[in-house]
């Protein structure tokens, strides 16, 4: 599944604790992507992807048929957001509050296309493969280019930066209402 590849790559690059990469790496369409050898993370990602698929199905953004011939596909869209937080302790007058400040957010736009015939299927598969390769390379580039905003690593925990995977709905609900807080301590 493509999104698993993307998510795995993101986490591979952004889990700053000491990780062990999965070797041999997982692959999709012969594209090897790195993943962290962590079953808990895998479970979380799987769960999130299930939600994503559900969100896709119920997506209210189904495009009507468009004039050109191959547009009779039903396109569904959703978004997947992965956020990384930094724990900051804020010292107030009388209390210390731990605050989590998001220092990076990855937004993955997901759209699913249902090919209607064989040729389209092939075309879609090909474009998906090249897109995936591009995306994984792009993740590497992004990660390499922007290193300065990463907060200092203050702990020796396995994962110094808590993260969240969320699927914001398109209805414009607030963060609070649609968030599923899954914080890994």
């Amino acid at each position: 599944m493509y999104y698993l590849a993307i998510l795995s790559s993101i986490f591979f690059h952004r889990l700053f604790g000491s990780i062990r990469p999965l070797s041999p790496p997982r692959e999709v369409l012969e594209i090897a992507y790195p993943s962290v050898d962590d079953p808990a993370l895998d479970a979380l990602v799987d769960e999130k992807l299930t939600h994503l698929m559900a969100a896709l199905d119920t997506s209210s953004h189904s495009f009507a048929n468009q004039p050109h011939s191959e547009s009779t596909q039903h396109q569904r869209r959703a978004q997947l957001v992965v956020s990384f937080f930094e724990k900051k302790t804020r010292k107030a007058w009388f209390s210390k509050s731990e605050e989590e400040v998001c220092w990076e957010e990855w937004t993955i736009n997901v759209s699913s296309i249902t090919p209607r015939n064989e040729t389209e299927k092939i075309r879609v598969a090909k474009s998906a493969e090249s897109q995936l390769q591009m995306i994984i390379m792009k993740i590497i580039d992004i990660v390499n280019d922007n290193k300065d905003h990463i907060p200092p690593i203050a702990t020796t925990e396995a994962n110094p930066f808590p993260y969240q995977i969320s699927i914001p709905s398109e209805t414009g609900d607030t963060w609070g209402s649609v968030f599923k807080k899954i914080l890994v301590e």
């Binding site: 790559s9 591979f12 690059h13 700053f16 604790g17 000491s18 990780i19 062990r20 990469p21 790496p25 012969e30 594209i31 090897a32 992507y33 790195p34 390769q133 994984i136 390379m137 993740i139 590497i140 990660v143 390499n144 280019d145 290193k147 990463i150 200092p152 690593i153 203050a154 020796t156």
Partner: protein, 820 residues
């Protein structure tokens, strides 16, 4: 310079336990310096590890032999196994002293790691080619020659990548504060993750994966790494360097990538890589390269066939050494070919008979002449290279090829325009005229077998098959090579050709040279013909270069076949004639009118072939009587009446194979009864020889079901059964042979394999296993024909190299066991 000591405690970066850094506040210079050294040393070492471990197998360091605990390198928060590969070479960087680096720029040279493709395992019969983005093959040696390397010696190495890891002291920012080590470490974490991921996205990774996947036929190619000191210039002498373009139709053979630099107090870490974009190397037989070469030439005229060919080519385990080629591959031809880099595929030049230059020889005839010689079964399915033209054209083709050689600098041998351009140097027909003919040939898309077989022998066939084809020149008509684009035609042609020619062994001795002398069209053992032709195709790598050698070897082989063949063939023919004269159409007569007849012929030929092979290879177990008996059943055309229904009693088969077969047959029988005439297949009362025949019986009946199924998909029963039946022939013969050495367990295993499709006879599946193990990819629609041809080749090879079946059945056994 004093380092800032005001790093808050909270920012201490404590590295992981095992071999990670412990970087505290950089309060003290010595401690900081040592930590910096550690960071630098480990940066180099770990970068090298990541790269090397992803390209070649390394030996891990075992810290605790009892628990096989491997030492882990956890530096930069990336856990990888620690190895001591290249320890000596990396010593320079592992002992880096950051202070020295700052003071003397030359103290720590860049670390260069090259990924190279080791071609030392290739023999002269191999041709190394590389695939480009469109699937075209490019001959490596030719391209190298075009680039200025001497072409007579194959280079032992081809550089695939070059990594450069450097600590550049010149980019120290002297004005601001030096970067803090924790930041450096943190950024290095990011870098190493990226490096680890990136290394696996490069073409060399994919190529390595493909190499390691070919377990059945381990490739003779190897990927290895080399650690170099970047202080010295890298010389690519004696090897094909990165800058040598191997794919000549694109400008950029290599690409670069640089990871963002990481500033450290001692300089800036940079990691840079230059890599080849096309790393899909293949090892092919010289002949197959030749035909594919011509395919490429023809590309613009019949693009789809080219793509089909490349697909077919890819489907093969092309990396395998040509185990299927007969041992008569003539090395001398290789030598010749090497001297002709312009033709690059070596085999092409080998086909050159530096003999008569027939004026007006067209590229087509050249193609034809060479194509026939290069029939590697799977390769040439789509190769429209038709059968060899009549002798004068054959000679002419070679001569016409010569100009290509000489005009090497100006000719792109892999492009059709080059070929069409070459007429200037020869009296070849201008491209305009040749191309239509080429395309005509292409459309034929006959397997090499058919091309061989149709060589000027069966006018009836040509008329049959070329019915839909534009006859563009009279020179083509005698060739009879052009089967219609349908695969059916291919099979038919091969069938017909097998049925028709009584070729003597001598006929096949040289693909091109002697062929001109030997185009008899008698109806000798068809199976032998098929086998021999294929043997020639596969084995005679550039055989024409030294026809005498090929002649001798091939002649021996064919004689061996011939020794047995006449008996069976004639017997069979008599039988068939007696039983169903109207069905034995293709047998030495005019073209069969029905695919049924064609399949019958194919089956017959296969049966004969298997018989010959088993006779030649195995001492006992064969009795000609069975052969005739089987043929009689075959001749009955699938009615199965000639064959007694499968009776659940142990057949009087002496070999273990038979026993296994028997059991499996019983098991399979119910399934077969779904189809008509299945019973005939299951009658294995007689010994192995008869078994194969009986399996063949199935063919007609199934063929009746759906004649076109053979070409259709593997779901088509008839096609599958046909293939299986054919395989059964081979398998029986082969397995009988092998079973004398191996256990009968193979059969059950092979049965299991085939059971998925239909419960084919065990022998059939055994053979399919064997065929697969021989390198043919079976199971796909279009590849059915290949498989059939492959089977013949395989059986041919088995016959000639009796040792082969022994390991194969074991392999098949192993495969089938796992399937079970």
């Amino acid at each position: 310079m004093s380092l800032p000591a005001t790093v808050p405690a909270g920012q201490d970066l404590r590295g992981p336990a095992t071999s990670g850094p412990v970087i505290g506040p950089p309060a003290k210079d010595p401690s900081h310096a040592s930590k910096l050294n550690q960071v630098v040393q480990n940066f180099f070492s770990k970068a090298a590890q990541v790269i090397i471990q992803s390209r070649m197998p390394v030996s891990p360091i075992i810290t605790d032999p009892t628990t096989i605990q491997k030492k882990t390198n956890k530096w930069f928060n990336l856990e990888i196994d620690e190895t001591d590969t290249f320890r000596d070479e990396l010593r320079l960087w592992k002992a880096a002293d950051a202070a020295l680096v700052t003071s003397s720029f030359a103290s720590l040279p860049p670390l260069l790691i090259e990924t190279v493709l080791d071609t030392r395992g290739l023999t002269a019969n191999h041709t190394l080619v590389v695939l480009d983005d469109e699937g075209k093959l490019w001959n490596v040696d030719a391209a190298a020659a075009a680039g200025g390397i001497r072409a007579d010696i194959r280079r032992p190495e081809i550089v695939l990548e070059r990594w450069r890891i450097e600590l550049d002291p010149r980019s120290i920012n002297k004005l601001g504060l030096p970067p803090e080590l924790p930041v450096v470490y943190k950024k290095s974490i990011v870098l190493f993750r990226s490096l680890y991921a990136y290394v696996r996205l490069l073409p060399a990774w994919r190529f390595r994966k493909k190499l390691s996947k070919a377990k059945l036929n381990p490739s003779s190619l190897k990927i290895s790494c080399r650690v170099l000191n970047g202080a010295y210039p890298v010389s690519s002498r004696g090897r094909i360097g990165l800058s040598m373009p191997l794919v000549l139709n694109t400008k950029d053979n290599t690409q670069n990538h640089t990871f963002n630099k990481i500033d450290t107090p001692a300089g800036a870490f940079t990691v840079h890589v230059t890599y080849r974009t096309n790393c899909e190397f293949r090892v092919d037989d010289s002949e197959s390269i030749l035909s594919s070469h011509f395919l490429n030439l023809d590309e613009h005229s019949t693009r789809r066939y080219v793509s089909a060919t490349t697909a077919a080519r890819r489907s093969r385990t092309s990396k395998s050494s040509p185990a299927n080629s007969l041992p008569f591959a003539s090395s001398p031809a290789r030598g010749v070919s090497q001297a002709d880099p312009g033709l690059s595929y070596g085999s092409l030049s080998s086909f050159h008979h530096q003999s008569t230059a027939v004026p007006g020889a067209s590229p087509i005839s050249a193609l034809r002449g060479t194509a026939t010689g290069t029939s590697h079964e799977r390769e040439s399915v789509t190769s429209s290279l038709s059968s060899s033209p009549p002798r004068n054209i054959t000679a002419g083709t070679r001569s016409s090829l010569k100009p290509i050689d000489t005009s090497r600098p100006t000719v792109q041998p892999f492009k059709s325009p080059a070929l069409s351009a070459s007429p200037s140097s020869d009296s070849m027909v201008p491209g305009g005229g040749s191309y239509p003919r080429l395309s005509y040939h292409r459309v034929a898309s006959s397997s090499s077998i058919s091309s061989y077989q149709q060589r000027a022998q069966r006018p009836s066939f040509s008329s049959t098959y070329s019915a839909g084809q534009p006859r563009q020149s009279t020179s083509i008509s005698p060739i009879n090579a052009f089967t219609p684009s349908s695969a059916l035609a291919v099979s038919s042609s091969s069938v017909s050709s097998t049925g028709s020619r009584p070729e003597s062994g001598r006929r096949y001795s040289s693909s091109f040279g002697s062929r001109s002398q030997r185009q008899h069209g008698s109806t000798s053992s068809s199976s032998a013909t098929v086998a021999v032709q294929q043997a020639i195709a596969t084995g005679s790598a550039g055989g024409s270069g030294t026809p005498s050698d090929d002649d001798n070897e091939l002649g021996e082989f064919v004689r061996m076949l011939d020794s047995r063949r006449p008996l069976k063939l004639f017997t069979a023919r008599r039988e068939i004639d007696a039983l169903a004269p109207e069905e034995v159409v293709g047998f030495g007569t005019s073209a069969p009118r029905t695919s049924l007849a064609r399949f019958q012929q194919l089956r017959d030929s296969h049966a004969l072939l298997s018989d010959s092979m088993s006779a030649s290879v195995v001492v006992q177990q064969r009795s000609p009587v069975l052969v005739s008996g089987s043929y009689s059943s075959t001749g009955s055309g699938g009615s199965g009446k000639a064959i007694s229904p499968h009776t659940p009693h142990t057949p009087a088969i002496p070999s273990r194979l038979s026993e296994g077969l028997t059991a499996e047959y019983y098991r399979d029988q119910p399934v077969f009864e779904d189809d008509d005439d299945d019973d005939g297949l299951l009658d294995h009362v007689e010994d192995d020889g008869g078994l194969s025949r009986r399996r063949a019986v199935k063919k007609p009946g199934l063929a009746k079901h759906d004649e076109e199924d053979e070409l259709a998909l593997d779901k088509g029963d008839s096609s599958v059964s046909l293939a299986q039946a054919s395989q059964a022939h081979m398998a029986t013969a082969v397995t009988s042979n092998s079973n004398s050495c191996s256990s009968g367990g193979i059969l059950p295993g092979s049965l299991a394999k085939r059971a998925a499709l239909r419960n084919s006879p065990s022998a059939g599946s055994v053979h399919s296993n064997e065929v697969s193990s021989h390198g043919g990819h079976f199971g796909d629609d279009d590849e059915l024909l290949f498989a059939m041809s492959d089977m013949v080749i395989a059986t041919t090879n088995t016959a000639t190299t009796p040792t082969i079946p022994t390991p194969d059945p074991k392999e098949a056994q192993h495969d089938t066991r796992s399937q079970q």
